[in-house]
Amino acid sequence: MKIEGEHVFKGPRQAVWEMFRDPEVLASAMPGTQSLKKIDDQHYEGMMNVRIGPVSGSFAGQLTVSNENLPESCTLTVDGRGAAGFAKGVGNVHFFENGESTTLMKYDGEVTIGGTLASVGQRMIDSVSKSMIKSAFETLDKALEARLAAKSGNTPIEFKPPTEAEFAKNVAKDMAGGLTNVAEVRMLLYIVPVALLFLIVALIARGCGG
């Protein structure tokens, strides 16, 4: 499947870039992340525990950054495998100064999935991943705001990342108008792990864009 989109961050490119160099912030945008390690400038490794709805198990992913053209663009390749299946993705990320101290990020890519993710979740992956990316951007917007406030010496703004459960609930709500107790709706969450992988692509992407 193809993923593409854009997001405007309310902060200068440098600040956004710094945020994405901080694995802890990235992990907070993807609740369930056990680790997100930078191996070197081109390679990252992540482990994610997925315990949402009927899906449980760990998901391991490697991310490679290539074709770096700082600070404008890069290519990302992600390869993740876990009990729920596998995902392989290649994405291109562009990162633009957007005026008035904002930063425009554009991304597009192609993701291949397999296993349960494909056989059970294919139909809903597109919409659920969009919803998850949206939810993650909201978290990152808050994180960026908190970082900028701290930097300027103003009253610190408290940043509390959402818990795994809150995150899952938001996505499910987006998908089905809050009917999280209906079995069919819980099935939607099968595809959460792959959407998380898209997130790795999307988010790390902005890291390299800085």
Binding site: S58, R81, A83, T112, A118, S119, V120, Q122, R123, E184
Partner: protein, 779 residues
């Protein structure tokens, strides 16, 4: 030939048990000390296995053992060829690559087993999936049937030069000569999509090895208990009578359960013998979609040559058939396609070529219809295209070309799934079509109703097609009929039952001969301890082949009754009558004996017997036809298409079918209705979709839509014609697949008609989006 019992719509013996929840299904079996198996399956469709590390799984509490292909040593080997290659067809190429029980070195389809985990519960076994580290190198997958044969395509089996599994050409007459003489030649590319069997109950396997008695008992959901017993015994080095296969009640077969020599029935007996504990495996729905066989995927390049009056001169059909990653089931499905493409019409010249292709998908074996719907779809689509071209009515062009009774028996010149030249034994094809047109009100619909509804803005269309159903193939079945001292009858046969009503219809056959009520006749199917010869339930052969064997055995028992009673009563046999559980002297009904008492007398425990007399009111008999009996029929359906949503509602469905003699018209109707439901599913709901990487995208009932009661036709009518077959005494032809075979062809034709012929549809599976796409492309 209806009698007191035979031919009557008698309520089913098995229903009380089934409807009150007292029937035993495989998952109800619970043995002391039983362990549970789960299969770790490959997510990748095509990959090389580097290493499988299960050491962590063994440490998990409750896990008893884990095995990969390496752990089975010499026991691991590709399975048998379940159906032999078509050597009877000269010049045919067949590359046998039979199913392996568990992937070794290489994975060839998504869902192929990589490891089997044995644990105290299924829950623990599945949790242990997470402990197993599989190092795998993904390879490019092969999915497109035509691209698969192009040079440079990735190879499913690297020891072959290409992905060609088989190439079979059959010809009667000379198509090219016929084509040269034709006024009109029409060529089309026609697609038939892939469908699942989707039985209500998935597969299951329970095995117990009893070390002291050296007996293995297997409970399985198989359609072929005796072949399963034979292969297990051979693999395990046991005698056949050391292995007992029992099929409990089964929730639907539809074809895929005929397949044996898979991971469960190969590996679990070996493991049970090693661990000395019973093992159970119950398939879940996702496994069923991924790793139970399915069918249909074909691409046809078909051509029809006609005179300008619409008389068929010849047909040519070159088609690609997807066999999946292996071809253990030989060529049954594509051979059925060849035999059914032209079987109902007079086609003097016919050229047909199969190119069977290996792909990185699940293995293809028969699913209800088994190649026949494809052949019928192709031919019926060609007829419709010809009717349009020649400005003829679809019914008219069909009527003109249908075979007539005087032509039977007709040798077709085409060798079928039973490796003998097809012979159309009997039938009245034109009458099937006439009666269908009459019941649906064809002329009135065309001339009055449709124009009126169209004027009201409604999109209504009619489809009308004909079909044949090759059924009741050999080799043989057998049965034993025994009257007990309790005055009741036990009937045992080698086939198994998946819901067809055998417990009643077989009892009716026996009741008619021995004069004992159907309720007092106990039918045992699918238990190799009760009857241990036979081939299985497939190709709509249960009623005709096993039924004929049962009839033959019942006739012998009847003869024994008369022979013994004649001696006891000192009356000639012709003076005796049997019925209501007793035998009596016609002229003196008070001189009678209960059949239970006669059964006791037939089994003396002291004294002497006459030479040549066999004990008991018991007989065993067999029946095997020289070739299959061919049923036939016609279907008409009226659909209403919603131009906003593109949803299609079947308003009226008429099927007239001829399966020879009916044993139980009520059960027969149920079979036909069930087939129609499957046909409607195949045409508008059910579709197995693989992506370019060999990932099955429709592995749950969320994405693989089953037709529901509300999707069935608002009005459904069934017409029976009876042309008995000369091939068996009872005159029975099979009917198990009748409804499924013609329905997609009729559906697509009706949708085209509803759209005022604006589009031509040459694929068998539609849905609202697809119809919308056709219309968009047109504009």
């Amino acid at each position: 030939m209806a009698g007191k019992y035979f031919g009557q719509p008698i309520l089913r013996n098995e229903d009380a048990q089934l409807l009150s929840g007292k029937a035993r299904f495989i998952d109800d079996i619970d043995l002391p000390g039983m362990l549970h198996a789960a299969f770790l399956r490959s997510d990748f469709a095509h990959a090389r296995i580097k290493k499988i590390d299960y050491s962590a799984a063994l440490k998990r509490s409750g896990v008893v053992a884990v095995y990969t292909a390496e752990d089975f040593g010499d026991f691991w080997r590709p399975g048998p060829l379940q159906v032999p290659p078509p050597t009877a067809i000269k010049g045919s190429v067949f590359n046998a690559r039979t199913l392996v029980p568990i992937a070794k070195d290489k994975v060839r389809f998504s869902g192929e087993p990589l490891a089997v985990i044995i644990a105290e519960s299924r829950y623990i076994a599945e949790d242990a999936f997470d402990d197993i580290i599989v190092e795998i190198e993904p390879l490019d997958a092969v999915n497109d049937l035509e691209k698969a044969l192009e040079p440079g395509a990735p190879l499913v089996h690297e020891d072959l030069d290409s992905n060609l599994a088989a190439d079979v050409v059959q010809e009667r007459g000379n198509y090219e000569e016929a084509r040269a003489k034709a006024d009109v030649v029409i060529s089309r590319k026609i697609l038939v999509n892939r469908n699942a069997g989707a039985a209500l109950e998935n597969r299951g396997f329970v095995v117990e090895w009893e070390e002291r008695s050296r007996q293995m008992t297997v409970w399985a959901t198989t359609q072929a208990p005796i072949p399963l017993r034979n292969t297990i015994a051979a693999r395990m080095g046991l005698f056949e009578n050391q292995v007992r296969v029992i099929t409990p009640f089964i929730g639907g077969g539809f074809g895929p359960k005929i397949m044996t020599s898979q991971a469960d029935d190969v590996l679990l007996p070996w493991i049970a013998m090693k661990l000395k504990r019973p093992i159970k495996w119950i398939e879940d729905r996702r496994e069923n979609f991924l790793a139970t066989t399915s069918e249909r995927d074909q691409v046809h390049y078909a051509e029809i040559a006609l005179t300008k009056e619409g008389t068929i001169l010849g047909v040519k059909d070159v088609f690609y058939h997807n066999t999946g990653a292996y071809d253990p089931y030989g060529m049954t499905v594509p051979l059925n396609t060849q035999t059914h493409t032209v079987s109902n019409y007079r086609v003097p010249n016919f050229y047909t070529q199969i190119k069977m292709v290996f792909t990185n998908q699940m293995v293809v074996t028969p699913v209800r219809g088994a190649g026949r719907p494809q052949g019928v779809f192709v031919m019926e689509r060609l007829m419709d295209a010809a009717a349009r071209e020649l400005n003829m009515d679809p019914a008219e062009i069909r009527m003109k070309n249908l075979l007539i009774p005087d032509e039977f028996p007709l040798r077709t010149g085409i060798i079928g799934q039973d490796f003998v030249e097809g012979v159309l034994d009997s039938g009245n094809y034109k009458k099937n079509l006439e009666k269908t047109m009459e019941i649906v009100g064809y002329e009135k619909f065309r001339k009055e109703i449709q124009p009126k509804l169209r004027a009201e803005g409604k999109h209504v269309g009619i489809g009308i097609v004909t079909f044949t159903e090759g059924t009741a193939v050999g080799p043989y079945e057998g049965a034993r009929v025994t009257i007990g001292a309790n005055g009741k009858v036990n009937v045992a046969t080698g086939i198994s039952t998946q819901g067809q009503g055998h417990f009643t219809s077989f009892a009716q056959i026996v009741a008619e001969q021995v004069g004992i009520d159907v309720k007092d006749i106990n039918v045992v199917t699918g238990d190799t301890a009760h009857f241990h010869w036979g081939a299985g339930t497939f190709a709509s052969r249960g009623a005709a082949v096993a039924g004929s064997a049962i009839h033959n055995a019942a006739v012998k028992v009847r003869e024994k009754i008369f022979s013994l009673a004649s001696k006891i009563f000192e009356e000639p046999e012709e003076n005796l009558e049997v019925g209501d559980g007793k035998v009596w002297v016609k002229s003196n009904p008070s001189q009678s004996m209960l059949l239970g008492d006669l059964a006791l007398r037939a089994n003396p425990t002291r004294g002497t017997i006459e030479p040549g007399v066999e004990p008991g009111l018991e007989a065993t008999a067999y029946y095997g036809p020289p070739y299959g009996a061919t049923g036939a029929g016609a279907v008409a359906m009226i659909v209403n298409l919603d131009p906003e949503t593109m949803q299609v509602k079947v308003e009226h469905f008429v099927i007239v079918h001829d399966c020879g003699t009916a044993i139980n018209p009520m059960i027969l109707e149920g079979q036909v209705y069930g087939g129609i439901s499957m046909g409607i599913g195949n045409a508008f709901y059910e579709k197995m979709v693989y992506d370019d990487n060999g990932q099955l995208l429709s592995a749950s009932f969320m994405d693989y839509l089953m037709p529901q009661a509300t999707d069935m036709p608002a009005k459904m009518e069934l017409g029976h014609l009876v042309t008995t077959t000369p091939l068996n005494t009872l005159g029975i032809k099979g009917v198990g697949e009748a409804g499924a075979i013609p329905t997609p062809a009729a559906f697509v034709q009706a949708v085209e008609d509803a759209l005022h012929g604006q589009v031509e549809i040459m694929e068998s599976n539609l849905n609202p989006s697809r119809i919308f796409e056709y219309l968009q492309k047109k504009q």
